[in-house]
Amino acid sequence: MSHSSSWHLRSIILLALISLFFGVIFWVISPLYDVLTAILTPMGLAPFANEILIGVWCMAGPVAGYLLRIPVAAFLGEFIGAAVEMLLGSQWGASDLIAGAIQGVGSELGFTLTGYKRYNWGTLLLSAVTVTLVTFGWDMIKNGYGSYHLPLLLGLLAVRFLSNFFFGGVLTKAIVNLLDRAHVLGTGATPQN
């Protein structure tokens, strides 16, 4: 498909499907999250399970933003998946919806800062930074991260960034490169250098 500047039915379905596919893949690995939590809990380090895997959660955003190249795509790619997860009755309930919106804003911000004009490594890196900062700020409020001692807090932040950097940056770029090589994105899909 070629990139157009506004939303059409097909791009909306594509965005929603990508979001749901990523949701299903995450759901497939959710036992890993449970195991990590169980291992880390005795040391009082349960949140690290979240930090290690958060990049997978936040991946639909950069992928959608990078593929569709329309403002709000990254936000919606993230938010739709979370909203559907809540609609299907997840163990996180209404916090899914809010988390989805926060993560969406975080991912989107990286693309906004480049003015939706540049789609390259730097954009993905920037998006990984913004999503890390925005979501971390949110967890300071919602999950009480503010009461951690500073070294642990910095540790959490570092792991979260690494996770977002790997999944939202390295892995997302690898996926997009495969799609580019397969010529399935139509003209104009190659990153502008």
Partner: protein
């Protein structure tokens, strides 16, 4: 209101993005109103492209129209406002799984009628009448994903009836439809024609159309042109589909078993699709599985590869397949999927071949042998090409070569000959034969295509009324 609407295609040329040449090249044809027109031609020659262009979906969704016009009655399709188009022409798609947006039958019908801005108080009445016309009133509240292929296509036709479209287009609509549903759908289409509708149906399998089609058109794969057939040509065209094939098979007697199936039951959407069935699959032989569309052949393969749930016991060399480690079992019983793209893991032909070579379980396929296989299948100059830009026939051939190189003890093949030209078919049959005789591979093949495969299969396993049995003859 009965309008007489000819569908006229004039000097029409259409090309997809990234395609080396036009799919349809200066095509001229008129499908007369009030008639059942059959458009025949091999898979992948542009039948779908033409129907989607008539329906006004192309070039909106894909490709470029390079020349010509298509008119419905007096209006060019491109001039008809999108909101008016669907009451004039509607397309029933090939894949019954990808033509609905809603969850239930009722909701999908409501969606279509709301789109046409039918007044709210008329919608329920029109919906019920359409379901009754097709004879599926009992499906009204069912979930679409839980219907069989045949039921889905009946629902799709009911929607067209409810929308009251003047021109009804159908793109290979019976690919996953059981014979009973197919027969009933054809009768309903004939009734619609008698009521004044124009029906254009594209198919490559021409069974049962001879008495139903008013006009028959053929799309020639070489010239990319369409012409209407006269009486003699019609006779020629239908002949292979009416003459029974006379292949003979042996019955398994002393042959050792590779896999066995005991009391196998496959339940789909709460309905018993297959079984209980008990039989064995023979080692180092080629077994052909036949049976009507939509009766559970592919689902059986899904069970053999642990992609679907079943009850009963399936064993591989006397071991319950559920007890074998998944990664090991996956390389033991390989499946060549019906859809070639499902099989691919990489981007280019060479990469895909390299992956198979790397994980091959045999040293039978030397570089030299692989090169000559590719040459025989006319794939040599496509080795650096992107898999997803190959033609359907080329994809199928690459897929087959890759699965042969894997050299798994058991290879299941689901419609491996679909879309192959006659020459490729001969090469493929020879490759399968040598895989069996020289490598001792066990081959289980689902195929509708039987012409030109004489002597390949040792046994014939027939699926009929939910039961498998070995047969000596076809039919």
């Amino acid at each position: 209101m009965v309008n007489l609407v000819n569908v006229t295609v004039h000097d029409f040329t259409f090309q997809y993005d990234h395609a080396p040449r036009p799919t349809l090249n200066h095509v001229n044809v008129t499908f007369p109103d009030h008639r059942f027109s059959l458009l025949s031609g091999p898979s992948g020659t542009g039948k779908s492209t033409l129907l989607k262009s008539i329906a006004g979906l192309y070039p909106e969704f894909s490709g470029h129209q390079l020349s010509g016009t298509i008119t419905l009655g007096e209006h060019a399709v491109s001039d008809i406002a999108a909101s008016q188009r669907s009451s004039l022409v509607t397309l029933l798609f090939q894949d019954p799984n990808q033509q609905f947006a809603m969850d239930t039958v009722e909701h999908e019908l409501v969606f279509a009628l709301e789109n046409l801005q039918v007044p709210a108080n008329e919608i329920n009445d029109r919906l019920d009448k359409a379901l009754a016309f097709i004879g599926i009133s009992q499906l009204k509240h069912r979930t679409l994903t839980q219907l069989s292929g045949g039921e889905k296509q009946k629902v799709a036709l009911a929607i067209i009836v409810a929308m009251n479209s003047q021109v009804i287009l159908l793109d290979e609509p019976f690919a996953s439809v059981d014979p009973e549903a197919r027969h009933s759908l054809l009768l309903n289409l004939k009734r619609l024609v008698n009521q004044g509708k124009t029906v254009i149906l594209a198919d490559h399998d021409l069974t049962e159309y001879e008495t139903i089609a008013d006009n028959v058109f053929a799309l020639d794969s070489a010239s990319r042109q369409i012409k209407e057939l006269d009486r003699d040509e019609r006779y020629q065209l239908f002949q292979p589909f009416t003459r029974p094939l006379s292949q003979q098979f042996s019955l398994p007697q002393q042959q050792p078993e590779m896999m066995s199936v005991q009391d196998l039951k496959l339940v789909q959407n709460g309905r018993l699709l297959l079984g209980p069935s008990t039989f064995a699959l023979m080692a180092h032989r080629a077994t052909l599985i036949t049976g009507a569309n939509g009766t559970g052949k592919s689902t059986f393969f899904s069970a053999l590869t642990r992609l679907t749930n079943y009850t009963g016991l399936i064993t591989y060399q006397q071991k319950n397949i559920q007890k074998i480690r998944r990664s090991r079992y996956a390389t033991t019983v390989n499946l060549m999927f019906q859809d070639a793209e499902t099989q691919f893991v990489n981007v280019t032909v060479n990469e895909e071949l390299a992956l198979s070579i790397k994980h091959s379980q045999t040293n039978f396929y030397t570089q030299h042998r692989i090169d000559s296989m590719l040459a025989d299948l006319n794939l040599t100059e496509h080795r650096n090409q992107v898999l997803y830009s190959l033609s359907e026939g080329q994809k199928k051939k690459v897929q087959l070569v890759c699965m042969l190189i894997m050299g798994a003890p058991v290879l299941l093949l689901d419609e491996p000959f679909k879309g192959l030209d006659y020459q490729s078919l001969q090469v493929v049959a020879q490759l399968l034969k040598s895989a069996m005789t020289e490598l001792g591979q066990t081959l289980i093949v689902i195929s509708h295509q039987l012409n030109g495969l004489d002597g390949l299969f040792n046994y014939h396993l027939q699926l009929r009324d939910g039961q498998f049995s070995y047969q000596e003859a076809l039919g």
